[in-house]
């Protein structure tokens, strides 16, 4: 029966188009992701693609290893050398690019230094240029100092409770140092673009998924459906199974293809590096590796998709149409970004389902929730909350649909 339901859904032209569109958008996203990793060669020319990636990887992996004081001093020295070179001082942009090309190998470490020595909410690309050897010695302490300064600043003072402040500081201190560094652009690019493809998958899947329950009404087949022996019990279950099958099958197909293409081309080096070794993850208080972040992204994406699309099923079973249900993912995914300027909502916005679809960003956010004296980050909360809500929706969905009256 599940097979029939799936066949019924994908026999419709509109749903076939949605799948084709998804395939096209998947290719496009792969293309953009891979193109986002750029390499500047000795001539100062930027390039991306397989060859460029390989060279970037070689350059960066010359710096692979633990980031000790010795390594940092070497970065400082190398940086100063290049800053003194003709290319760097030239007024010609092309020449400057040549200088940059030489810095590429340690650009990630350079970024970390910039972060460590500028105030929390700022970023100064040239901060490294004025760092001294004494300062460098405090590199890892700086991370905590900068954070503490910010937590005591006017901006953040009242935003977090003492428990919450302690929670973040403790997490920062728990980070294992010295950090191990390696080229990890594959994971970083994946984390940056995965939300795009995950969101597109949810938006497009909403159409077939809403159709599972609404189609009976759109085809005016509901009278016969509900007057059959299993029409109000097993057949409803079959529809739910079909929905879960479609969500699961298509989500994982898309994510697997995307992972294989992106990581296959950009490389899986750096899987065991902490996410704090990159520009984006430096401030995160989640002490995880890129590999763990990957699992959070794909797992969170799945749980989020499952929740949003279960909601779509529920609404289509309730309204007997697809019109409203297919707009719900749009609302859930795009409205939060419009509301993000409203500070009153920031607590609530941190645990909306869109956060699950962009775990790479979520782990870099400072959303904290306190129950009594215990503090939680948003990640464990949403990883539990939405599966629970999905499970709660399913019996309701079953109930509503199996009690349908034909008026």
């Amino acid at each position: 029966m599940v097979r029939f339901e799936i066949k019924k859904i994908f026999s419709r032209t509109g749903n076939k188009i949605a799948l084709l569109l998804l395939a096209a958008l998947l290719s496009l996203t792969c293309f953009l992701t891979i193109g986002s990793v750029e390499y500047v060669d000795e001539q100062g020319e930027s390039a991306s693609g397989i060859g460029a990636t390989r060279r970037l990887r070689e350059d960066k992996n010359q710096w692979a290893g633990e980031i000790t004081e010795g390594v940092l001093l070497k970065v400082l020295q190398k940086n100063a050398e290049i800053n003194a070179s003709e290319e760097y001082l030239s007024k010609d942009v092309q020449e400057n690019n040549k200088a940059y090309a030489k810095k590429q190998g340690f650009s990630d470490i350079r970024d970390m230094l910039n972060h460590a020595f500028t105030p929390f909410r700022e970023y100064d690309y040239y901060r490294v240029d004025s760092l001294t050897a004494e300062e460098i010695a405090k590199f890892y302490e700086q991370r905590v100092i900068v954070l503490t300064d910010w937590l005591n600043s006017d901006e953040a003072k009242d935003r977090y409770s003492e428990e919450e402040k302690n929670f973040i500081i403790t997490k920062y201190r728990e980070l294992q140092t010295p950090l191990y560094y390696e080229y990890a652009d594959g994971w970083q690019a994946f984390a940056e673009y995965a939300p795009t493809i995950i969101m597109l998958t949810v938006l497009l899947l909403a159409f077939p998924i809403a159709g599972i329950f609404a189609n009976e009404f759109q085809c005016r087949a509901e009278s016969i459906f509900f007057s059959t022996r299993l029409g109000r019990n097993k057949a409803v279950l079959s529809k739910i199974y079909a929905g879960i099958w479609i969500i699961t099958g298509i989500y994982w197909t898309v994510i697997l293809l995307y992972s294989v293409v992106v990581l296959g081309i950009l490389g899986t080096d750096g899987a065991e590096c902490a996410i704090q070794t990159g520009l984006g993850g430096w401030k995160s208080f989640y002490n995880i590796t890129y590999l763990q972040e990957y699992f959070l992204i794909v797992g969170g994406g799945y749980l989020g998709s499952l929740f949003i699309l279960t909601l779509v099923m529920f609404l289509s079973a309730r309204t007997h149409s697809t019109a409203l249900p297919v707009t719900v993912p749009f609302i859930l995914l795009f409205i939060p970004s419009f509301l993000s300027n409203l500070p009153v909502l920031s607590e609530a916005l941190g645990i909306l389902p869109d956060q699950l679809l962009q775990m790479g960003q979520t782990v870099c956010m400072f959303n904290l929730y306190q129950v009594g004296k215990t503090v939680f980050g948003a990640v464990p909360i949403i990883m539990i909350l939405y599966p629970v809500l999905s499970c709660a929706l399913l019996p309701l969905l079953y109930h509503i649909y199996s009690k349908t009256e034909i008026k």
Binding site: R220, S227, I406, K407
Partner: protein
């Protein structure tokens, strides 16, 4: 098989579509005759567990059908008045799917589908997509789906609507064939549909069953006579104003009228046998007129 309607009522807001009906049905063909809006579809939907009654109950062999749930629907075949199919399914796939919904095992279902496709004369269209079928073919597919589980209770809501006269006769014969060992309730506003095949006719109006009985009993139930007479053109208007006219055949000089009246409407009028059509007209008055004309 026994279906018992006990004080069955359905209200939509303050409007009563089915009004306190109590009846018992056993095997045989019941013809539900009524004008548009009489409540036929509403009554049938309740019998198919698609609508819950506002008041009253329906019992199948003594058990409430809503409590029997799937067990009741296992006995049921339903052809709705207005319905659609999954447009991209072939006739064959469609019937297999409905068979699955009816809980028929796959091997049995395949055999049943093959038999029914040939019984309703769709053998040549079995591989066609539902959206490519003509109206008559769709209705036949509809009858086939209703019959898949060999239902003991068959509910057909205006099954002949949209069929051409040949198809209608074929269909009547099909129903007669099927009527053994079954309870069939069929609704229509086409009088001739039920005239021949129904064992019992129900006249339904404004949510209630006004009269029920065999064809003869129903015909005998009107307290007036039926007359036929030829009149001149200038007399037509006056007669139409004063009498119920069940039929009018226009002729060069005037018209031949069929008049329902207790007394002789004109000198030349001759009494004739009443037909079911006359009865329909008698009970449903002016409203029924357009229905009656549809039959010609």
């Amino acid at each position: 098989m026994e279906l018992k309607l006990d004080d069955l009522t359905k209200k939509f807001g303050s409007f009563t579509a089915v009004d306190h009906i109590s009846l018992t049905m056993t095997n045989g063909v019941y013809g539900l005759l009524g004008i548009n809006g009489a409540g036929k579809t509403t009554l049938m939907r309740m019998l198919c567990t698609l609508l819950r009654p506002t008041e009253g109950n329906i019992y199948c062999n003594g058990s409430d059908i809503f409590e029997m749930d799937g067990e009741y629907r296992r006995l049921l075949g339903y052809l709705p008045q207005e319905f659609g199919f999954y447009p991209e399914f072939t006739v064959h796939d469609y019937l297999l799917y409905i068979a699955t919904l009816k809980g028929i095992r796959p091997a049995v279902a395949r055999k049943r589908v093959r038999e029914l496709i040939s019984q309703v004369g769709l053998t040549n269209a079995a591989g066609k997509k539902m959206k490519k079928l003509s109206g008559g073919m769709k209705r036949r597919a509809g009858i086939a789906q209703a019959m898949l589980n060999d239902p003991k209770i068959l509910i057909l809501d205006e099954p002949t609507a949209g069929l051409d006269p040949n198809e209608r006769i074929r269909f009547r014969n099909l129903i007669s064939e099927l009527s053994e060992e079954r309870l069939i309730l069929l609704s229509t506003h086409i009088v001739s549909d039920v005239e021949y095949i129904a064992n019992e006719i129900w006249l339904m109006g404004e949510g209630t069953i006004l009269h029920r009985g065999s064809l003869e009993e129903i015909i005998a139930s009107i307290p007036e006579n039926v007359w036929e007479c030829s009149v001149k053109k200038d007399q037509i208007a006056a007669i139409m104003r004063n009498y119920k006219i069940s039929n009018m055949k226009t002729e060069p000089e005037g018209a031949t009228l069929r008049i329902i009246s207790r007394d002789r409407p004109a000198e030349s009028a001759k009494r004739t046998e009443a037909s079911l059509e006359d009865v329909f007209l008698y009970y449903f008055g002016e409203n029924a007129k357009s229905e009656a004309e549809e039959i010609d």
